[in-house]
Every structure is written in structure tokens, then in C-alpha cells.
């Protein structure tokens, strides 16, 4: 791409962002504050929340929940999936059920979790965990399935030890799939986090959104949504980065 084309590209992007900001600001003139707030007020509200420290404390509370649930999902999902690369019968027996749970909308379980575990940190972590563990497990098992039996037979024929088999065949073959799963889990876990903060005990960024909506503080509501949008974009980029970093030989698929 030539310099001219690149400049034109940057200019278009800058123009589109400016246009978006202008539309956001101007559209507020034509609606009441109950529906929409201009960008300037939203940013003011955000600055106010940042100054008073609520933003930092709420974001920290959300991230603590998110990180705990996601870490548990990875610690449970990836090793279980890897184990199924080695134990073919266990994989064949369980893969249909894992696929079903992967396709299940986990939000549907929130009311059960609420009435069994009540309010607190643990039930919310469970929600984030349930949202994110099945993508990791499902994709890792897909990876396990992609290992052709011939590869293991050849490794055996060359008398490779159990450790070598894991290091040279099983892990390299399943890792890219596990990374795809972790990327999906990063996105789904965020949905789980907001859902848990909405429907279990209100906390964190979810609570900020709820409070904004209940108090008809549309600027505060939009500010909290904006924070979640930025968080979502950052996490998705991070997920894509780790997928490429740890499994560069696999083609990127959504």
C-alpha cells in the first residue's frame, strides 16, 4: 500500500470516528434525556465516576469476578480436553454431551444458581465458569479428535516414551484448538460476568449500568456501557493475540 493510500485510509477512519461522535452528540438534541445523552455528558459522567473512585472500584470488582471464573475454566477445561486426546474411549463417550453443553445457553441456569446458592461471590464465579468452560473443553476435544491415530502409532513404532508422545504429538496438535477455545471463552466469560452482575447480587460494572437505568441517569448508563465496550474490544484483541502467539500455525477462524 502506498503512502497516499495509507493516508487516505487513516483519514477515512478518523472521519468516521468524528462523524460517530458528532452523531452521538447531536442526536441527543432531538430526544429527551430519558432516552439518550450526548457524548459530552457521557464523558463528564465517566470523568466524575473516575474522580470519585467508583469506576476503579467497580471495574476491579468486575475484573476479579471475571478473572477468577475464566482462570477456573481454563484450569479445568484444557487439561480435561487434553486428557481426552490420550483416552480415546473417554472422548468418544463424552464428546456428544460436551457438544450439547457447548450449545446450551448457560444463562438459563442462572435462576437455579440463584435459588440454590443465593447471593455472594461463589455463585457469580460459577456463572462465569459455566459460560467459559465449555468453549475451552469443546475446542480442545475437537483438537484431540483431529489427531490421526496413525500419528500415535508411528510414535509408538519409534518407541517414544509417554512424555515424548505428549510433548511431540498430543500437545502440539491440541494446543491451537485449545487456544481457539480460550479466545471464545474470553468473549463468553464477559457475557457471563455482566449476566451474573445483573441477575445475582448486583456488583461491578453491571451494577453501574443497573443504577444508571433505575435512576434515569442516562449519561451514567451510557458511560458504564462505554466502559464495557472498551473492555470487550480489548479482551477480544487480547484473545486473538494469544491465539496467534501460541498457535501461529493454525488459521484464524471466528
Amino acid at each position: 500500500m502506498g503512502t497516499g493510500a495509507r493516508w487516505r485510509r487513516h483519514a477515512t477512519v478518523a472521519l468516521s470516528l468524528a462523524a460517530g461522535a458528532a452523531v452521538w452528540e447531536v442526536s441527543a438534541l432531538f430526544t429527551t434525556r430519558a432516552f439518550w445523552a450526548p457524548l459530552s455528558e457521557t464523558l463528564q459522567s465517566l470523568a466524575e465516576a473516575a474522580r470519585s473512585g467508583t469506576l476503579a472500584s467497580q471495574a476491579a470488582s468486575s475484573l476479579e469476578l471475571y478473572a477468577t471464573g475464566l482462570a477456573l475454566a481454563m484450569v479445568v477445561g484444557a487439561p480435561l480436553g487434553l486428557l481426552m486426546a490420550r483416552m480415546r474411549r473417554v472422548r468418544v463417550a463424552l464428546e456428544t454431551y460436551i457438544m450439547m453443553l457447548y450449545a446450551t445457553p448457560m444463562v438459563a441456569l442462572i435462576p437455579f444458581i440463584l435459588s440454590m446458592m443465593g447471593f455472594g461471590f461463589a455463585p457469580k464465579v460459577l456463572v462465569v465458569f459455566l459460560f467459559s468452560v465449555f468453549p475451552v473443553l469443546y475446542n480442545t476435544v475437537e483438537g484431540a479428535r483431529s489427531i490421526r491415530p496413525e500419528l500415535i502409532e508411528v510414535a509408538r513404532a519409534f518407541r517414544s516414551s509417554e512424555r515424548q508422545l505428549w510433548r511431540d504429538v498430543l500437545i502440539p496438535y491440541t494446543l491451537p484448538f485449545a487456544m481457539t477455545g480460550i479466545r471464545q471463552a474470553i468473549a463468553r466469560g464477559l457475557v457471563g460476568m455482566v449476566a451474573a452482575e445483573f441477575f445475582l447480587s448486583p456488583s461491578g460494572l453491571g451494577q453501574m449500568i443497573m443504577l444508571g437505568s433505575q435512576n434515569f441517569d442516562t449519561a451514567g448508563l451510557l458511560a458504564a456501557i462505554l466502559v464495557i465496550v472498551v473492555l470487550g474490544v480489548a479482551l477480544m484483541d487480547f484473545g486473538r493475540w494469544i491465539e496467534e502467539r501460541f498457535a501461529p500455525w493454525k488459521e484464524y477462524t471466528r
Binding site: 468418544v92 448457560m106 438459563a108 435462576p111 437455579f112 443497573m210 437505568s213 456501557i225
Partner: protein, 270 residues
């Protein structure tokens, strides 16, 4: 030697020295595992949980009554029609926007940041805003379903439209094809596998969106059915609705896989 004989020979070699057992049959293994999972669930609930918690025997007992209940059927119909209507709107709008983004560079540069960031945003976050706009009714649910599914379709169709082989477009140009026929006869068909991939992602998201919206807005539907029954400690009844959601989720996935295999055999993943 025919191919079949070679294949048979290979299988025979693999099994040489190992007696064939029932454990080699995938169906048997799956049934065994399913039974084991149900037994564990039943046992754990009986031993540790209060009586109201859902367990397989309890669910079986209420299954017939709940699935025959007009209220349950109405709830299922309401959720499903909202999901399908939302997906239909998202497919039409998402394909249009995706094609425009994929083929017209300024459109792509202008919309990319918005589409990508809203794709990355959990749609639950905008739920309170949507209820401010539409009120606490079924329109808000439909809006959330559309919002949840639109962006994954637009992004995938855009990727598809961008990866149309240049040779096809060059042939079209040498035959002086009109822009519309290039779009509908070349770009759209070759983006179809991407559209289906986007739709697969979108259908899962749409289902989650519908359930979450029903929790939040309290309008009749499977999500509200679950909420209502679990609040009154009828977990077995509530779980029937979860099973219905699993069936819908799995069948949508299976349907899209089947469509890909049947009509787009060149785009198979496996």
C-alpha cells in the same frame, strides 16, 4: 484389491491381538456415559441437595405434564418466534451491510470500528438501554435478539465478500457483467459459507439474548418460565424449559451443519 478390502485389512490389522468388545462401539460408549452422568446427577442431588433441586427422576415425572401445558407451549412458541424473527432480520441486514463493507473500501473503513466493537460488546450490557427505548415488552426482546446476532453475520459476510477469488471478478468484468449480477451471482454465493458460519455464531447468541431479555423484562417465554418456576422452587418444571432450550440450540447447530454439507460441500470444516 478393492478400496473396501484395503480398508477392512487395515481395520483388521489394528484390531489384531485385541478382542473386539462392546467398548469399541461408539453408540454403546455414549449411552453408557449418558447413563453414568444421569446417575451421578441423581445421586449427588439426593445425597447433598434439598428436595426441590432438579434431578433426572423428578424431571421425568413432570415431563409429560409440563410439555402438555398450554402455558409452556405458548412460552416456547413466543421465545422461538422471537429468535427466528430476529435472526431473519439480522441475516438480511447483516448480509447487506457485510457485502457493502466487503466490496466498498470506504464503507469498510467507515464502519469497521463500530461493527467490530459492537461485535465484541456483550449484548446484555445494552439491555437496560433497550428497555428505556422500547419499554418492557416483546419489542425490546426482539431488538436485543437482532442486536446480538446482527454483528456476527455482518463481520463474517464482510470477510466472505473480501475473499472472493479475484479471477472470478476478472472474468465477470471481461464479460461486462452488470454490477448487480456480479454481486448476486458471484460475490453472494461465494460468501455463503461465511454467512453460514456467522449464522451459527448468531443463532447461539440470539438464543442467549432472548432468554436474558425475558429474565429482565418478565415477558412470557422460556426464560421467564424458568425464572418463575425456579423462584417458586419448582426446579423440575423449570428444567424442562432448559431441556427445550438445549434441544433448540443443538438442532440449530445440526441444521446449519447439514445445510453446509448438503448445499455447500466444498466448505466443509472436517
Amino acid at each position: 484389491m478393492s478400496i473396501q478390502e484395503v480398508a477392512l485389512g487395515k481395520a483388521a490389522l489394528r484390531h489384531a491381538g485385541r478382542s473386539r468388545s462392546a467398548l469399541d462401539s461408539p453408540v454403546f460408549l455414549k449411552l453408557l456415559a449418558g447413563l453414568a452422568l444421569l446417575l451421578v446427577w441423581e445421586g449427588v442431588v439426593r445425597a447433598l441437595a434439598p428436595a426441590y433441586v432438579a434431578k433426572p427422576t423428578g424431571i421425568v415425572k413432570v415431563l409429560v405434564r409440563v410439555t402438555g401445558d398450554p402455558q409452556f407451549l405458548a412460552a416456547a412458541g413466543s421465545t422461538l418466534s422471537s429468535v427466528f424473527a430476529g435472526l431473519a432480520v439480522a441475516v438480511v441486514l447483516g448480509t447487506a451491510v457485510g457485502l457493502a463493507m466487503g466490496r466498498v473500501a470506504p464503507v469498510e473503513q467507515g464502519l469497521r470500528y463500530y461493527v467490530n466493537s459492537l461485535f465484541a460488546t456483550p449484548m446484555i450490557a445494552i439491555l437496560p438501554l433497550v428497555t428505556l427505548w422500547f419499554g418492557y415488552n416483546a419489542d425490546a426482546r426482539l431488538a436485543v435478539v437482532i442486536f446480538a446476532s446482527f454483528f456476527s453475520i455482518a463481520i463474517n459476510v464482510c470477510d466472505g465478500a473480501r475473499s472472493v477469488p479475484v479471477a472470478y471478478l476478472e472474468v465477470a468484468r471481461s464479460f461486462r457483467a452488470r454490477p448487480w449480477s456480479t454481486l448476486f451471482d458471484i460475490v453472494l454465493p461465494s460468501s455463503l459459507p461465511y454467512l453460514i458460519a456467522g449464522l451459527r455464531l448468531a443463532s447461539g447468541r440470539a438464543l442467549v439474548a432472548a432468554v436474558v431479555a425475558e429474565f429482565f423484562i418478565s415477558i412470557p417465554g422460556l426464560g421467564y418460565f424458568i425464572l418463575f418456576n425456579s423462584r417458586t422452587f419448582k426446579h423440575n418444571e423449570a428444567f424442562v424449559a432448559v431441556i427445550a432450550l438445549v434441544i433448540v440450540g443443538v438442532s440449530l447447530e445440526a441444521l446449519l451443519n447439514w445445510v453446509t454439507r448438503r448445499y455447500l460441500p466444498w466448505a466443509r470444516r472436517d
